[in-house]
Symmetry: D2
């Protein structure tokens, strides 16, 4: 069977990483085209990734290039329109989170995906494809932890990358949509349920700049799910030690923790500061394997005519919950969700 | 200077431990009398601790025995009346938590304590005297963590002790007052602030017996404090691995975790299950040193004519907050606290 | 620049892994041919790796197929003759350890490599390309540990794979050559010196079968190096917990430990056994990234016209030292090495 | 039964610690007298420990004071003569290691102890009474580790205390007798066997001052025991992180590690250096509980008319083995031990 020809739109840090993986690592895949509004990004991709077809415009790429699939890694507001456009063109779609910038847009994508049942649509919640998270899920499904009681998820970017984060703060949808949404997806996945109440709080502890956007540099939420299980989320921008994505699932029979120490590698350093492990500093460093695995799953689904476990509906739901958390935080009110 | 003569009332697991420490370890202290309604407990104390004066009645002990101080470790409903009585008799008082079974009772104790400024009154929040918690507090006070962002406290009793816990469930004031109150005290101590909003949830995940008391076997609360800092609490009865008291304080510059692994000792076991540490199974095992240190502090305060850092007001406030959490959980409502 | 065409000889567990990496992951490389005496292995490679040219005979592969390089992963006794043959044919050579089955054979390979200075020769000591070991080396070179005092290296295969190990025991060169040789290479690399005395001991603790080969199921050696630094080695077959490759380098200013817990992933499991991490079970699981990196380095060296840091001489020296340790163990004598 | 009246000779860091424990913590014991050639030490003990009988001379203490037992914590050369003297006076004897400064002296003590079978003699190898070591021993005795393969013991004093160590270097018996002797005792205890070969090496890596005494600042030894089990020892003076006493026992079924991280307490610190634990800095900090427990065992043995597990013979044997390691190191030769 021939290789799956993929066009990547968006060549920022994450887009380039996806393009690179498709070009070099993903089996049975071919990086056929890239699209960016930034000519310099295109030039680098052409040179480093040896990709022949480079475009400034998504529609042109779709019109001119023979593709089987697209990977949408553009700015969030383009996710939904580009998804709809690609589906119409009969292309399989991998789309980074969020699937749309509002609950309504997400719903529209979900509807379109349903209209093209022969096409593969996969939202990019890469954590599910990280070996440690996948292992945790397997243990939970096997009953190892018993009945789930509490999900705890921290997603805190390193203080060392605050400058970039602040530049992006104005156009960001806030910490819950930007950061906690991954944990919300994991909570739903691990707990096997949907939230029925949400209370969120937060503040600016180191960076008052976030106040003008009605955001905090650290925010937290407590949710109860419809099987009574609970979830606690912390999202922020001030981790002193590195890229802090830490997860815990407490059950009646056992507890699982993933990356409680977000260790950079297997080296332990012993010196006058004590005994320590250094930490991962970026999502690329922490989740390299997850990005590779999720793209492979996308390609394998296309080749094998099956659908990924994660759906457009998951994308909608996580966005919806993150929006409720944002609202709860801004209004300092408890939100109850009707089913 | 002569030894401080102490009478202990209550000889349950914790009471006996205090009596034993006073008899054997506390410097400049003497176990002068013990009081219990259980004759067998008295017989054991007489034999093992070599204590001469044994009483069935608190008042009789105070009338007949020459004491400088009492340690009140009786059932919670006796704490306030016995405290008031001892203060009236001119005795220094160490009293296990809670200082009273309601906010009002706590307030009455606080008032009485203020009326006897020459007497030492010390509520038994032993965690503050644990070397690890004391070290964490020292680091926080030195500015090591920067501005505190989030306090996280777990207090989960081992599943292996559930039988005893269930027997006691009817007379218990619920998980927040019974278990989380220690974390509430720690949160106030570490964050240096008081809560302004409380939302609490919970459920019966393994032991439906708790439902009849309007309680859960695991409960959680999220609070925002008046300096914007946040606190998350988990209290429960189902820890599979042991006596799980784990604490984290996240700050802008550093994070501290205490007993993230509630290790029994310094032995690491490596076998086909992996590389592991076994866990403490009881509060006595975990906090032996803390109990010794707090009683020493009580005695030292008496001898040196000074007051302990922890006050009757701390007891009142922690009870008050735990009551609010209980109310929020029972009514599934957000509670805002006026100042 | 065109891809480096590689033929792989030997399709056992490790050979297949190299072939797979070349086919799927190594950049700028092409799996052009495979060679095995086992037709079934060839059939699998043809199907799974889509390799067109399959051979039963190494010489035939070299005669019939257009190759730039070979990766020699055949049985140890073939390493030297196949290396010499390939070099004569003008091919770059990657060869798994050992570079020869005796000190003399290793020396012959070293001589041949020197005779073809335009060809890349790389012995397969993959640990140097593992991110954790590479990081440790970098820290050492930067002076972080000060002056090295002691290298400690454990290489113990899991008890669970003992059956395979026992089958192979007769033709094995013994634990020092088979297992400890990797640690010997690391010790030389980290300590920057050569040993001047060797004392080795060992025994059969679980598997008396090794006695007939004059070997132990666990052996140990202590060496002093010519800069006074020391090295301790443990090699064996009975690790209860998994694939136990653990390394420590103690210096005057700091100590580094690599994989003291040979953790399988970043999941921590908490249950009645305690708090634990599960362990890697195979070298493939532990060193997957190292195998990928070393093959990439081989290909990059070829393309960039440079030589890898590791040399044929390193292969000779490690074999020589492992032979001395074997001799010391068999004779129960201290061996001093003249320089 | 009345209290055991103990006289302590030697009030250095360790002697004072023992005196303090006897005065304050040891049950059924009384600090009846102290003896030191340093008047200032006596003055401090009189004031802080409230001890009435203070002496400059051991013999005078024995003549003038009513004692049941002595604790000998004087300089090593006094251990044997004071032990013999006390036994003659009919006193029970606790004596810090070494039991004598030579194999011969140890033997003489052993002989004397045998001559007074009604008296308790206990050499101070406190590690056996540390809860973690005691737990490890229990697990080994229960068969948890299977057959022991390798004992590894590190005893490295912190670099921060090097000044004191250097002052004491001239009169020290060298690292093996001074530091490793505790590990030698543990190895014999855990392995249940005696060594049959010893090879030792070492060097001055940071402190050339040790060379003049024929010693190293770090030394190591490899031994094979008469049940084929192996032991590796490292002793030194340059631990950058603290008081590094770390032990591992590898068996066929499981491995135990004690204090692989010599953690100061249960606090984990997370900051830009990574995730770390701080370390104990002194033997008093690490082994406080062990010192308390061993003195309690001494007193309990006296009261209960039984003998401690550890014997004068253990003291002799550990000294003997440490002497052989010292000899092997100085002569760079393998030493085989006839049985």
């Amino acid at each position: 069977m021939k290789k799956v020809r993929i066009g990547v739109v968006g060549l920022g840090r994450l887009g380039y990483r996806h393009a690179e993986n498709i070009a070099n690592i993903t089996r049975h895949a071919e990086l056929s085209a890239v699209c960016s509004i930034d000519d310099q990004e295109l030039a680098i991709a052409r040179k480093e990734l040896d990709v022949r077809h480079c475009y400034n415009d998504f529609q042109t790429m779709l019109d001119q290039c023979e593709l089987d699939a697209v990977a949408i890694v553009s700015s969030s507001d383009q996710h939904a329109p580009q998804t709809l456009h690609a589906l119409e063109k009969g292309l399989h779609v991998f789309c980074e989170k969020p699937t749309g910038i509002s609950h309504e847009e997400c719903k529209a994508v979900e509807q379109a995906v349903n209209n093209y049942p022969h096409l593969v649509y996969m939202p990019g919640f890469m954590r599910r494809y990280d070996p440690s998270y996948a292992y945790a899920k397997k243990k939970i499904d096997e009953g190892y932890i018993g009945k789930p009681i509490l999900f705890r998820g921290y997603s805190v970017d390193p203080e060392s990358s605050i400058e970039g984060a602040l530049k992006y703060a104005a156009s960001s949808a806030g910490q819950f949509l930007d950061m906690a949404v991954h944990d919300i997806d994991l909570a739903r996945w691990f707990l096997g349920a949907e939230p029925r109440s949400v209370y969120a709080i937060g503040g600016c502890f180191a960076h008052p700049e976030y106040e003008q956007y009605g955001d905090g540099d650290n925010v937290a939420a407590l949710m109860q799910f419809d099987n009574s299980s609970m979830a606690f989320f912390l999202a922020g921008r001030t981790a002193p030690h590195g890229y802090n994505v830490e997860t815990e699932i407490i059950g009646t029979k056992a507890t699982l923790r993933i990356a409680a120490v977000p260790q950079k590698n297997m080296v332990e350093l012993i010196d006058p500061t004590g005994v320590r492990q250094e930490c991962s500093q970026t999502f690329q460093e922490r989740f390299q394997e997850a990005f590779v695995n999720e793209m492979q799953e996308f390609v394998d689904c296309i080749r094998e005519g099956r659908k990924p476990e994660i759906t457009a509906g998951d994308g909608t739901m996580s966005t919806f919950i993150a929006e409720l958390a944002t609202k709860s935080f801004k209004q300092n009110e408890l939100i109850k969700i009707e089913n």
